[in-house]
């Protein structure tokens, strides 16, 4: 059996652990730059009809009238809460795959002789007590069935937060209660196709002939079909596969026309991306830099361009990458436009250990090694002392363009000066 443990409205729940005044009130967490809602409390969904992606300005009135609270996304806090939850899960179910910041799959093969439903109910209760974050647990024969069970746990089994799809009757009922476009791996596009063909629920779907599914939805669809029939097609991934590309880009909080702040922003994104690159012990051989204006301005003010650069020697060194990225930006920058976004995408990633030295390169192997040591030291310091303790000068200091995070809560679990305050009054 497989279990999917999924936190309920994770970002909102994490905020509520440390801010009791936010409980039982409609609220949401905003995206980077405070653009739109990305996590909503049940009250916000049900009473105020706030949806995923509802823009900030559309909610402003509900906020001023006191019906809605909001917070900027506090990823430092969420990451730590996620780490706590996965640890607690691992203590019960050791075979764990962390699927996203708020979900993990567990393989329960070693739990043959247990009452799995009861084990899951106890685990759920434990996570709620130990961290304050409510989760739901779905159990099924495959990952796709566990996903379905999890959704049903959220909808139908709010008191226990657990749905166990063990018997044939439970599976049948579960599939009948699930709309076909809600199935993991089907998605809205095929969902529409299927509904047009008279396939409304997951139960209708598994009763289609396999050939028909293969013809309609290719091999991906057949995989989902088999998973729903209880055949494991999607294996557990205990180790996160290495990324094939790393991209960093954010919209500015205002439009930028000058080249200097664009360069600063790009340098910051490159630094961020190359740190991720080193974390997975890779180097990149190629990268793309792009710059664009808003897509919503009149056509003559619209501009978007990108450029791909191949490096003579693959590297993960922030300094080298920043220098090359800025050169590239200068080639696509055109004065006069009001830019909304620049970004970088590191491509052609390969393991650091496979790097061959460039016969005609300026950088010797010895110097490469030194650079690597220096970057490792910088990464360590930035991890221990806080992000951006050591920065490259090109990244600038004022960062007027940087993310808008007006409603950020404190980092209650990672900074001693930010811990909760308890009244002994």
């Amino acid at each position: 059996m497989m279990a999917l443990i999924d936190s309920n409205n994770f970002y909102v729940s994490a905020e509520r652990v440390f801010q009791p005044e936010l409980r039982d009130k409609a609220g949401c967490v905003l995206s980077n730059n405070d653009g739109c809602a990305i996590s909503r409390s049940n009250e916000a969904k049900e009473q105020l009809g706030i949806r995923m992606g509802t823009p900030f300005f559309m909610m402003r009135e509900q906020h001023t009238s006191g019906k809605l609270w909001w917070r900027s996304s506090n990823y430092t806090l969420y990451q730590d809460m996620m780490r706590r939850i996965t640890q607690i899960v691992r203590d019960t179910f050791p075979d764990q795959e962390i699927y996203s910041i708020d979900e993990c799959f567990c393989d329960l093969a070693t739990f043959k002789h247990h009452d799995l439903e009861q084990v899951a109910i106890d685990l759920r209760r434990k996570i709620l007590q130990y961290t304050g974050v409510p989760v739901c647990i779905g159990i099924g024969a495959t990952k796709t069935l566990a996903k379905i069970a999890n959704k049903l746990a959220k909808k139908q089994h709010k008191t226990t937060g657990v749905y166990y799809m063990g018997t044939a009757a439970q599976i049948e009922q579960g599939l009948k209660d699930t709309e076909v476009d809600d199935v993991w791996g089907i998605g809205p596009r095929y969902g529409i196709k299927l509904i047009k063909a008279g396939v409304y629920t997951a139960y209708d779907f598994v009763n289609l002939p396999e050939d028909y599914v293969l013809k309609l939805m290719t091999i991906q669809g057949r995989r989902t079909y088999r998973e729903l029939k209880g055949l494991r097609c999607i294996p557990m991934e205990f180790e996160r596969p290495l990324k094939e590309g790393i991209s960093t880009a954010r919209s500015f909080n205002c439009m930028i026309t000058e080249r200097a702040p664009l360069e600063e922003a790009l340098a910051c994104y490159v630094a961020n991306a190359s740190q991720k690159l080193r974390a997975q012990k890779s180097v990149c051989a190629r990268f793309m830099v792009y710059a664009q204006t808003s897509q919503f301005v009149v056509e003559k003010d619209r501009y978007t361009n990108d450029i791909v650069v191949k490096l003579s020697q693959p590297t993960s060194d922030t300094g080298t990458l920043i220098t090359e990225a800025l050169k590239a930006l200068r080639r696509i920058y055109v004065k006069g436009y009001r830019y909304q976004k620049v970004g970088v995408e590191l491509r052609d990633l390969r393991p650091q250990s496979q790097v061959q030295s460039d016969l005609f390169g300026k950088v010797t192997v010895e110097k490469q090694d030194k650079l690597q040591l220096a970057m490792a030291a910088v990464d360590h310091i930035n991890k221990v002392q806080g992000r951006n303790t050591i920065v490259h000068g090109a990244m600038g200091f004022e960062k007027k363009w940087s993310m808008r995070q007006e409603f950020l809560s404190r980092r209650y679990t990672t900074r001693i000066e930010d811990v909760i305050v308890v009244k002994a009054i």
Binding site: R84, I420, V421, I425
Partner: protein, 157 residues
């Protein structure tokens, strides 16, 4: 660009460590078999790190338990409150520090003084035990002033 020379820790030639573990030329340390992990305060104050949080104190109603304003509290959410435990509770949407008591079916929160009546769970609209405080950290040096005063008074006597 200026060249920077980087040394890996432990490879500098000028420093010869006085005590090093790996001098294989001589005799092996007779204590090597007895090596243990050093005492870790985290192990002592927290039974379950994934459920351990920290909090700062304001107010003076728990000084009877040796908890003063600005002290740091270890809050363990994995513990179930026992009679007399100090707990972080939530009442009226605020974190409060109290001691916990149970009598029959009734649960109470109470400060460390005799002027207050204990608060009973059913008397308030929202009563929650957020976590148990197994340890508190008191900054002794912050209290040096009081001790210096006492010392100077003693000399004058």
């Amino acid at each position: 660009m200026k060249e920077i020379t980087l040394y890996k820790r432990g490879t500098a030639h000028t420093l010869i460590p006085l005590y090093a573990e790996a001098i294989h030329a001589g005799f092996e340390s007779p204590a090597a078999d007895y090596e243990e992990a050093r005492i870790d305060l985290n192990d002592y104050v927290s039974k379950y790190p994934a459920a351990t949080f920290f909090a700062r104190v304001t107010g003076e109603c728990m000084t009877g338990s040796g908890i003063y304003p600005n002290d740091l509290l270890v809050v363990d959410k994995s513990l179930t409150p026992q009679q007399g435990d100090i707990v972080v509770g939530i009442i009226d949407n605020e974190f409060i520090l109290r001691s916990y008591f149970k009598q029959g079916n009734k649960e109470y929160l109470m400060p460390d003084n005799n002027y207050f009546k204990p608060i009973e769970r059913s008397e308030v609209s929202h009563f929650e035990i957020w976590g148990v405080v197994p340890h508190s950290v008191l900054d002794q040096r912050r209290r040096n002033g009081a001790r210096i005063n006492r010392f100077e008074q003693a000399l004058r006597r």
